[in-house]
Symmetry: C2
Subunit: 524 residues, 2 copies
């Protein structure tokens, strides 16, 4: 039952990866498993980040964040320990309000690792978060789910498990995520147990734990200890907790207590202000970015005060507003371009980055959904995000997890594997021999270079219809959503659970049952 | 009837722009016409290009292009004048095959302008092509059109005019385009007359002429002379011709004769290899890019041999292939990332760039269409393209012009106006006063900074539904395609023709009638 035993058996991981690749290949595309980008459990980007602002503008944003921190400050509610940490660190604590001298948080943040490994129970699926690495995780936090057959309804634990199975079955997602949807048929105070047990049981990838109470975070960390071993967990990151700032400029105790619980256990908090411009922050991008920087630096620094050297992810969630309805909007151009700046700022702090995702406000897996989602997701990969939460399933302004959009998005994550591989320039790809063989005015279809390279040359979507119109017509004139509907059902039918040590499973079930028995059901 | 008279009346242009903005505002969004990005007839980008390759890799691609040009060469068919030009310039001409010493084409290209103005008959709509400028033009060349009501059918002159009207009505397109769809109800040898007359009559923006025969190019240039005046046309660009390489490494006489006709008249050719990787070029991106560079340099240089200093646009069209069906694919990741390299290469040549567009292979305006289109279109704006043909309407692998996708794409072009405005960093956008006013834990909805900035803060789509689920539900649960269907019908109903001098109209009609009368109808 010790982690080290399982870590010594890399063949299991390799086997799973090959099985997953082969299965997907047979089912959908006839692809071989030879595609090189399928071999790795995450992406190592081969294109640079897209840096849109120069030194002077970045410096002005950082200076504005420093002034927000020094002149206005951040309130820390319901967490006396956090206030004690800030006092000890030399901040100006006035009641709940904490003000920070310019440079103070940057100094504290120097102890945070620029990159760290999150270990999966299958070591072949462990991911490196930071640097040039990109990890795709499902969307997080919707109360509803939807599909083309049944429309929108509240999520259940069955939906929750289904999405874990779909993520586990996709070669293009790298992480099992966290609260993929709210399982509203489980009491609120017990969900964290069923959710993390489901991640551990139905996936062998990395996952996220609860942040809705310090005790729940600690329960989830305890479950991780059962799987990985207590010593291993104390030395390594095996669970992430996604904590939100209560923007503007408030950290509430629920979040900071969870944040500190993860940090204390040497696990990684993801620090995320959700700023809807014009509501939780200024209506102008630069100000919202400065605020985001201030709030995130404070949260990240608090992890280091709790445990120096604990892994932490610099996160953010920029959003805009419809001027007509006042509704939040998602996947719009201003947050997309703002993400590029956030990426530059995170790199100047030398911290791993979480940014954007496949955002949309559409209520259907339609053209709006993929227009908004694609612009938003590309901003995430361009800005250099290392951990991309909300990579798959996000619809309805994060109120609904869509089965069809989930598999569309996962497919797009596959396309991004090819995109992030960039343009390789070497003798083979320059293909001068092919030009010599083919000459002028002939085609390259059968030439030696094409035969040697075609299997790995182009991304081959499992959702897109690339047939001629006539064949598409005869085949039933499907749209992408209809094909996605068939695909998620097939994926669930084909799903195979990853192997799990029965002793660990038993210990987890025992822990979950025992913990549940100690509490009456609570539904709010 | 002289251009100079009309050029002296800028108030007409201003009026049209305001009318268009106001009309659109009332119809769809309640926006005022105060949005700053609506004031200009094209975009001046405020974000840098996305340069993904370093000097060494770019140099290797350029060296490969040089070797293709020197060792393999390019065939120029059915155009003895072109061969004479090459001989006079010092190229190695062997029958139809022309080989070029490394550096020779680059030297010739130094006379091509890095940027030029294309003049519109309404001077307020003239566009600057090159530098930091971005011009969106409709898709080009589909034999079919489609809409949700009538499905796919051959395009007619009525469809052609409809798309001109839709483009003219959109504040987010900058150019009327060229062969928006093939008007198959008009004889092949007379289409160029009706098409260019329609552009001139129903739009007052810039447009493109025919390239399917030298005489047709010259007819279209003659029509431009009627509108702009002969001297004005000889001194200024008023018409573009989009000429395709017959890849790999063949220029056919139809295209080079049209290319030379435009250059001779001091009008701009757009030089475009269409390379479907694995068919018309190598299956690997670097080789296809090197080939594209070689073919485009040769075409651009030929314009300079015909008339030194003639404007020319460095174009390209990269595409990939489905490994399962052998079909061409559009809007896929490899061409999208390849575009970034093409952009870098064009800038090293100091030439205006045409690259990518809103590509898709989908047969419907669905999630696939906008996923592919968005990735492709973003690559065009990231790579620094100055003239983006295929910005709106492209479906079905360029076989069909879609009414619904046209208005969706035009709406996305609007979003790109906000995206390309970048993140402005100044005292107003940093909003420190707003933080002081609002403090911690309060919202920014009514604060002074929000009130001063909200009208121009966020892109407001006319297609996206950003209402809460319940309001969307009550309003009829529409998808984006259904909303786009209603929108293009409303836009056509609201369309108002731009004013045209009756004497010019009469002269154009007379020219078209006289030219048609000289030819029997030809249907192929």
């Amino acid at each position: 039952m010790e982690a080290t035993d399982r870590m010594a058996a890399p063949s299991a991981g390799t086997a799973r990866r090959e099985r997953s690749g082969g299965r997907d290949g047979r089912r959908s595309s006839g692809r071989t498993s030879a595609l090189p980008h399928r071999a790795a459990p995450y992406i190592v980007r081969n294109i640079p980040t897209y840096d849109i602002l120069g030194e002077e503008s970045l410096g002005r944003i950082e200076a504005a964040a420093d002034r927000i921190l020094a002149e206005i400050g951040i309130e820390f509610r319901d967490d006396p320990v956090a206030l004690e940490h800030w006092k000890a660190a030399g901040a100006d604590v006035d009641g709940l309000l904490v003000r920070f001298e310019p440079g103070m948080l940057r100094e504290i943040l120097k102890s945070a690792p620029p990159s760290f490994t999150q270990h999966a129970r299958n070591p072949a699926n462990s991911v490196e978060i930071g640097g040039k690495n990109v990890v795709f995780a499902p969307a997080y936090g919707s109360p509803f789910v939807m599909d083309l057959d049944k429309g929108r309804r509240y999520g259940t634990i069955e939906d929750f498990r289904n999405f874990i199975k779909l993520a586990q079955s996709s070669p293009w997602l790298h992480h099992s995520g966290g609260t993929i949807c709210e399982p509203v048929d489980v009491p609120v105070n017990k969900r964290h147990l069923d959710m993390v047990y489901s991640h551990l049981k139905y996936s062998d990838r990395c996952f996220m734990g609860s942040v809705t109470a310090e005790s729940r975070a600690e329960d989830n960390i305890e479950m991780a200890r059962i799987v990985f071993g207590r010593d291993f967990v104390d030395r390594n990151c095996v669970i992430l907790g996604n904590v939100n700032v209560n923007s503007p400029l408030v950290w509430d105790g629920t979040m900071t207590n969870a944040l500190r619980a993860y940090a204390r256990a040497n696990q990684a908090a993801v620090i995320v202000p959700f700023i809807l411009g014009g509501a939780m922050g200024p209506v102008t991008n630069a100000g919202a970015i400065a605020q985001s920087l201030a709030e995130t630096m404070a949260g990240c620094a608090l992890t280091q005060l709790e445990r120096k050297g604990a892994p932490v992810i610099f996160g953010n969630f920029l959003s805009s507003m419809s001027l007509r309805s006042g509704s939040p909007t998602f996947g719009t151009p201003e947050p997309a371009i703002g993400s590029m700046v956030i990426g530059q700022l995170a790199r100047r702090l030398n911290l791993p980055l979480r940014c954007a995702g496949n955002f949309s406000n559409s209520k259907l897996p339609d053209a709006q959904a993929m227009n908004e989602g694609t612009m938003s997701m590309l901003s995430a990969v361009h800005c250099g995000a290392n951990f991309i939460l909300h990579s798959a399933g996000f619809l309805d302004g994060l109120l609904s997890m869509s089965y069809e959009k989930f598999v569309m998005d996962a497919d797009f994550c596959g396309a991004l594997h090819s995109y992030l591989a960039g343009v390789v320039v070497d003798d083979n790809t320059l293909a001068l021999d092919a030009f010599r063989e083919v000459g002028v005015g002939k085609h390259f279809l059968g030439c030696a270079h094409t035969m040697e390279n075609y299997q790995t040359a182009f991304w081959d979507s499992a959702i897109a219809d690339n047939e001629p119109f006539e064949k598409w017509d005869i085949a039933g004139r499907t749209d992408a959503a209809t094909r996605a509907n068939a695909r998620w059902k097939q994926m669930l039918a084909d799903y195979q659970a990853p192997p799990m040590d029965p002793a660990i499973d038993e210990a987890l079930v025992e822990f979950v049952d025992r913990t549940k028995a100690q509490m009456a059901d609570a539904w709010y």
